[in-house]
């Protein structure tokens, strides 16, 4: 049943007619079909009412069969028994099918794919590689474009003659980056001597998978960066860092030579050995106690733990074990929470803490909570109002001694 596309210019005029005819026709054809269960094709096409001439349908098969076998992949057929090669070919076939798999794949990645315990994990990993490859390509193209633009710019500069350039007086040489780094270094050294400690608890190595650990390290790098840029940085401690653990290895590979020159304290000791127990506060989203103010004489601890597969209560259990005070951010009090977990990333956490340390205002600090997670700020007065209302309500309920409360009496009472 079709209104042919060729009618599109006239559709405006034809629509009313066709619609009415359609309704009738539809009804009748359905009945007809139900009776005969044959596919009738009713169409309003002016040309196709005459049956189309027989289209040559099977010609392509012959050419497809007669062609020599193309080698899909460069792997020769004698190492066909090799599972690695077989997997490589499988991925190649998937790519032909338009699935999300990478174009090029290294031996190491192949091994990881072979080790995947399930089909779905393999699919996920392949998709990750595919996306990574796409991003790489896109950035490469961008780079080339930028380079071309720079070349253009240089040419133009050369065209402007030397005479145009006036002698100009400057106060500084252009060494801003280096100066900034030095200044940050001085501030960092100051923080090492007099700054407030902030501890990252690195004891969660065994709770994380490879991917999560990498994410955690990325977040640590970013946190350290935000701290370095701040007016009054924390003195950062990495506690419980195992000397040859996966964490340390990953950190060293990411930081490179900078690792030994970082102005932070890394130790395999626990924070309870370094600081008095009563001044430690462990920050965890599972904590029943809500943080009200930032205290400058306390040591806050952040668990460096990316928890993708649900292990709720891990950090709270750690704090309970050591009998430490725990606190969580007052997210519900200030924000109208929408979606997402209340576990924030490490860099968001340190930015919130830095902001609190410098300004002390929660509204300012909670700017760093991702906007997608909440619908906006709550008026504090509103929050307390709600609280008062709740208390009031509870009290009114208590006026009733026993039995079933019904809604009418409530309403009267509140009025």
């Amino acid at each position: 049943m079709s209104i042919s596309i060729t009618l599109s210019p006239f559709a405006r005029f034809l629509m009313p007619f066709t619609l009415q005819r359609k309704s009738k026709n539809l009804y009748s054809t359905i009945l007809q079909r139900y009776m005969s269960s044959k596919i009738l094709s009713v169409s309003y096409h002016k040309e196709s009412t005459s049956s189309p001439q027989q289209v040559e349908l099977d010609g392509w098969k012959a050419t497809m069969k007669s062609r020599v076998q193309e080698d899909v992949s460069p792997v020769s057929s004698n190492d066909h028994e090799d599972p690695l090669a077989a997997t490589r070919e499988l991925i190649e076939m998937w790519r032909l099918l338009g699935k999300e798999v990478p174009e090029h794949i290294t031996e190491d990645e192949l091994k990881i794919i072979m080790e995947c315990p399930s089909k779905s994990s393999r699919k996920k990993y392949l998709k990750y590689l595919y996306v990574k490859e796409k991003l790489k390509k896109a950035s490469k193209i961008k780079k080339e474009m930028k380079a071309a633009a720079r070349e253009e710019f240089k040419k133009k500069l050369l065209e402007t003659s030397e005479a145009d350039k006036q002698q100009q007086n400057f106060l500084f040489l252009r060494l801003w980056d280096r100066n900034m780094n030095m200044a940050m270094g001085w501030k960092g050294a100051q923080a090492m001597q007099f700054g407030q400690p902030l501890v990252f608890d690195m004891a969660y190595e065994n709770y994380m998978k490879r991917k999560e650990l990498q994410n955690a390290v990325s977040q640590l790098l970013e946190s350290e960066g935000w701290n370095r840029k701040d007016v009054d940085p924390f003195h950062i401690y990495f506690c419980n860092l195992k000397p040859d653990g996966a964490y340390q290895r990953e950190l060293i590979t990411r930081y490179g030579e900078k690792w030994d020159k970082l102005l932070i304290t890394t130790t395999e000791k626990s924070y309870v050995d370094l600081f008095p127990k009563d001044s430690i506060i462990y920050l965890t989203a599972d904590s029943p106690n809500v943080m009200t103010t930032f205290q400058h004489d306390k040591i806050y601890i952040v668990g460096s733990f990316v928890d993708r597969h649900m292990q709720p209560g891990t950090s709270l259990a750690n704090a309970k074990r050591l009998k430490l005070a725990t606190e969580c951010l007052p997210l519900d009090k200030y924000l109208q929470w929408d979606i997402g977990t209340k576990n924030l990333t490490l860099d968001q956490m340190i930015r919130i803490l830095l902001c609190l340390k410098n300004t002390g205002s929660w509204e300012e600090a909670l700017k760093f909570v991702p906007r997608r997670k909440h619908a906006g700020y709550l008026e504090i007065s509103q929050y307390s109002q709600e609280f008062i209302n709740r208390i009031k309500k509870a009290k009114t309920f208590n006026l009733f001694s026993k039995g079933s409360l019904n809604v009418h009496t409530q309403k009267k009472c509140l009025k």
């Binding site: 269960s37 062609r67 899909v72 029943p288």
Partner: protein, 582 residues
């Protein structure tokens, strides 16, 4: 049947204009009702479907309506029979329907206004269509996907391939071939499938699982079904075949009377720890009707035991197959009936008592140990409680004589949001205390603090009538509840509305989880009241175990009805009773 929308302002108008849709709609509904009244022939019905978004939508709505009607009848029957346990099939669905608003059905946005051709087109027509197409992907792959989705006829797809080949000097891409293959398999065009199979063999050294699966499914109906087994071997080189692959191969083997191969494949499927599709098992039973062979029937009985051990339930049609097979066994005179089980645990048709839901002493011991080790401790006692709290609790439980009922204080108290918590709890406790039951109330420490919702005097009354244990506010109370109940022994029940699914998930393997579920069905009291103030009524507890079972001369097999949606924590209510006439 999509329109060119240049003339119409919005689709909703079209949708709402009754003159267009009312007629066909009614006819569909009529069809459906006849359909549900017994003609079980979906195939014929769906052949009416057109490639029209709106139309399918409307049909779906009507399907839903028809189902709903059917369901309402069903549920009314259910209600009239007055039995609906917490764990019986369809209960959760009903619960969700009780508090759901009818949402307006929103129409999806119309994406592309190209309509699929219904008959083969010539190259010029394809060119024209391609010009009209505005999309990001390539036209060929998009249109072939659409065709596969709407099950166009094979000839149309073939004309598309011919067109692509003519433009591309005789070459058709692998993805188009696979989609075409899908259509051929769907329309059961075996000769076409074999052609494509030849082409693929000629062109590609290896394929991927998707194409292998389609080829297997297409080849099993032909004379060359043996090659499907070779394809299965090819899949094994790169991954474990899916249960659907095995299903296809087994069905093929049975279709061609090759029983040994079918059973070997079945064994292989089990050895991969795959759970066979119920269709596979059904095929064995269906095939068994014509075989008079003890060896084969023993294997079928093994399948029934497999269902028992893995707590699987056959569907309605499978249950019919089982019944037919039993009744076809010569010389044994089996008689099958579809029935229900009475509350007393007796089969309504033969009067035999169904297996008890009680765990055997070994199972009980095993489950208690597992709950202690995995749910409460879980490798880190600090996660759900603290070691000293656990010690205190254990000492407390051991110092008391066994309890009859353990109450989850918080869960019970929060049942009626409008009533005061302590009052609700007190009502329940005093009602149970009157029956001279030894009670244990589990709660958290904040219940003892004086507040508007927890009155001191009422809590004191509770403590007089029952033993109480209050955990820390940040501890979990459910594990304590489970442990106390298990520790008190087999007669002890617990009161909560919680389905305990998160605790079930802490258990290490499916076998233990099934044990837990069996124990839970037999020991959990859920409160049925909707309003405070009245006498507490509990959900009926099953006293029999819903599982495939035999006594040698009789079989009782629970099965799922086609139209009842059963959640994973529910069990079927309908049974197939088979017994030998003596």
């Amino acid at each position: 049947m999509t329109f060119c929308l240049s003339g119409v302002g919005s689709f909703t108008k079209l949708w709402k204009s009754k003159s267009v849709w009312l007629g066909p709609g009614h006819s569909y509904l009529c069809l459906f009702l006849t359909e549900f009244c017994g003609i079980r022939n979906h195939q014929r019905w769906f052949s009416l479907k057109k490639t029209c978004l709106q139309n399918t939508k409307s049909i779906n709505l009507l399907i839903a309506k028809a189902r709903h009607l059917k369901k309402d009848e069903d549920s009314s029957k259910h209600v009239s029979s007055g039995f609906s346990g917490l764990f019986s099939a369809g209960a959760a669905k009903k619960r969700s329907q009780m508090n759901r608003q009818n949402k307006d059905h929103e129409l999806p946005p119309v994406k592309n206004t190209i309509q699929l051709p219904t008959k083969p087109l010539r190259s010029e027509d394809w060119d024209k269509l391609k010009e009209d197409f505005k999309g990001k992907v390539s036209f060929e792959s998009w249109i072939s996907s659409q065709m596969a989705h709407h099950h166009s006829s094979v000839d149309v797809a073939k004309s598309l391939l011919a067109w692509v080949a003519s433009k591309n000097n005789g070459i058709v891409g692998y993805d188009l071939l696979v989609k075409y293959l899908y259509l051929c398999v769907f329309h059961k065009q075996t000769s076409e499938v074999i052609d494509i199979y030849e082409i693929m063999k000629a062109r590609y050294k290896n394929l991927e699982p998707g194409a292998y699966t389609l080829l297997i499914r297409g080849l099993i109906h032909s004379d060359r079904w043996g090659e499907a087994l070779l394809l299965l071997e090819d899949i094994k080189k790169i991954m474990i075949p899916s249960r659907k692959n095995y299903d296809d191969c087994i069905q093929g083997a049975l279709l061609h009377q090759d029983v040994d191969i079918a059973w070997n494949l079945y064994q292989e499927l089990l050895s991969h720890n795959l759970i066979p599709m119920l269709e596979t098992l059904k095929a064995f039973f269906d095939f068994g009707k014509d075989i008079k062979d003890d060896h084969y029937s023993n294997k079928l009985l093994d399948i029934l035991l497999y269902l028992r051990n893995n707590q699987l339930y056959p569907g309605e049609s499978f249950a019919h197959s089982i019944k037919t097979w039993f009744e076809s066994v010569p010389g044994q005179q089996w008689k099958g009936q579809f029935t229900t089980i009475q509350k007393s645990g007796q089969c309504s048709s033969c009067g035999k008592t169904i297996e008890s839901i009680e765990l055997s002493p070994e199972e009980y011991e095993f489950l208690t140990g597992k709950i202690m080790k995995d749910v409460i401790d879980g490798g880190d006692q600090y996660k759900k409680t603290t070691p000293w709290e656990l010690k205190t609790f254990e000492k407390f439980v051991k110092s008391c004589p066994p309890f009859d009922i353990v109450i989850d204080g918080l869960n019970v108290a929060k049942m009626f949001p409008k009533a005061r918590e302590s009052q609700v709890l007190l009502e329940l406790v005093s009602q149970l205390a009157k029956q001279n039951l030894r009670l244990l109330v589990l709660g958290r420490k904040h219940m003892l603090k004086k507040s508007s919702r927890w009155r001191k005097d009422e809590m004191e009354m509770v403590q007089k009538q029952a033993s109480c244990f209050f955990a820390d506010d940040i501890s979990k109370d459910d594990p304590f509840l489970l442990y106390a109940t298990l520790h008190s022994g087999n007669h002890c029940k617990f009161v909560t509305k919680d389905l305990m699914r998160d605790h079930k998930a802490c258990l290490p393997d499916a076998k233990t989880q099934r044990l837990f579920f069996k124990w839970q069905q037999g020991h959990q009291l859920a409160i049925r009241n909707k309003f405070p103030g009245s006498k507490m009524i509990f959900q009926h507890i099953l006293i029999y175990n819903t599982v495939v079972q035999t006594t040698g001369d009789s079989w009782h097999i629970p099965y799922d009805e086609d139209l009842v949606e059963r959640y994973s924590y529910e069990v079927p209510t309908k049974w197939l009773c088979l017994h030998q006439k003596t």
